[in-house]
Symmetry: C2
């Protein structure tokens, strides 16, 4: 009876935990700087959005649970906590055929993440950087410099905001 009770009550919990992972598990190669593509990234909650007029793309910025907690409690304004992962899904801009004044996601360009670990990534502002290109999620960068340092070089422009360009959007 003990086992029966455990099975009955654990079943829904187990389903909740493993269903998203199973549904979205992918065999994606880690980047040259050894960052793994987070399983279920597209199920993460939203932090914001942005349009880059210099390269004709738009993006949605998502966060894992730690990042969302920081973004939505405003603690991220000072410093993002260890374990936070920020993710950007990036698309080429496309005019919506049925409403020409709207610009919407066209081809998928890449997914990119910033992983917070102050000690591990001490030489790059406490962030690990990674990008996977196209719907097939090909790791970007042939070596650690291309995969990590190149990203950080650009992010140094926003040292004052903890090397993060994204400002969490105001949410109701």
């Amino acid at each position: 009876m003990k086992i029966y009770h455990h099975l009955i009550c654990l079943a829904p919990l187990t389903a909740l935990i493993f269903l998203p992972a199973l549904s979205f598990a992918q065999n994606v190669q880690a980047t040259a700087n050894k960052i793994e593509y987070p399983t279920g990234l597209t199920n993460w909650r939203v932090i914001g959005s942005s349009i880059r007029n210099d390269n004709n793309t738009q993006r949605v910025i998502l966060g894992n649970t730690i990042a969302i907690k920081a973004a939505r409690s405003n603690t991220a304004k000072k410093q993002w906590p260890d374990g936070a992962i920020l993710a950007k899904l990036v698309w080429k801009n496309e005019i919506l055929p049925t409403w020409q004044s709207a610009t919407v996601p066209g081809d998928f360009v890449h997914a990119e993440i910033m992983v917070r670990d102050v000690k591990k990534y001490a030489t790059t502002g406490g962030w690990g950087f990674a990008r996977w290109t196209g719907l097939e999620l090909t790791p970007h960068g042939n070596d650690k410099t291309e995969a990590q340092q190149a990203c950080f070089d650009c992010h140094q422009a926003v040292k004052d905001s903890d090397y993060v360009f994204t400002q969490p959007a105001k949410l109701p």
Copy 2:
């Protein structure tokens, strides 16, 4: 012992179910066409994004579980299923101070939803429409016509895509 076992194993499940609801529960007034603001809307998964150049806004489009399943299995291309709710979070465009070629969310404009119920909303394409303005989420529209029909009038332009402007973005 039976009770003890149930308590032990239900505790984490209960926490999972009620924590987001408690964290984000809000006292938001229903619209004039009697549509309730969905609790935890900002925790929903992403369907896409868009920029409207005619009114200088950008938005992220989210969906409840039924909508996400339809969007990601491409069944939404034909018809969105009953129970689906699409949500738009809309912000005024703002130039990112640290990267001038990026346009990011500024002031929050409104949250709006489309609720699928083919029978209930038979006279408006099978969709209930609702909008809440500002971070305080004030219901939009003084009567049913303003709250429902006005939205539908515009959405008739996209009758061929089940009255929905949003095309689910390509996701890896």
